[in-house]
Symmetry: C2
Subunit: 122 residues, 2 copies
């Protein structure tokens, strides 16, 4: 394995809401995603999920608590079992690093047009 | 839990080689460390360890493979069981995010003047 330059990896793709695998450790996946607009409401029953923003502003909406706002250089861990919806301002884009178990489906148990069954490794 | 600003957390301490816990997910710890000079050679028998550099240049020396150089924005996963030594250029400092199991001792099985038995949460 060589050193991984995170921004160089981000520059390899332009599609939204399709996390790409860049590293793996201890059963956890390090993924990168570009996001824009609203994702689907979902939860991960047994998996905590970390969001670290590399560019832009990411909002994480919750059904039972106030929305979290993440600017570049900020992170948040969504606890397992908590319904959440990642979102940006309309027309804006955010670049996000995700950390979650290798087994995590990005829309949880929800089947949605945005659901991807496999995570591309870049 | 509120959003965590990584640089704000780095600004809370100045000591070297003393990782601070900033978040936890799925049994994994997210830690920040400021480092300068050479650390002790060690390995983690059953734990992979991720290094993500936020400032400066980090070298990771190995006994059986070439040194890895990590600039700001670059990451590397040291596989379990692999002897390694984090290092900076003499007199320089690097700011590093670590990801590893909550159970990981930062000097592995090695007891050293730099070994800390508990990781402060900031």
């Amino acid at each position: 394995m060589a050193a991984i330059n995170v921004l160089e990896k981000f520059n390899r793709f332009d599609d939204h809401w399709t996390p790409k695998l860049i590293a793996e450790l201890n059963g956890q996946a390090v993924k990168l995603a570009k996001v824009s607009g609203e994702f689907v409401w979902h939860d991960h029953a047994a998996e905590d999920e970390l969001f670290l923003v590399f560019r832009g502003t990411l909002f994480i909406d919750f059904k039972d608590r106030p929305t979290i706002t993440l600017q570049t250089g900020e992170l948040y861990v969504v606890p397992r079992g908590v319904q959440h919806r990642p979102r940006t301002n309309p027309g804006e884009e955010a670049w996000v690093m995700l950390l979650e178990p290798m087994t995590t489906a990005h829309t949880g148990a929800v089947r949605h047009a945005l659901t991807q069954d496999a995570c591309e490794r870049i």
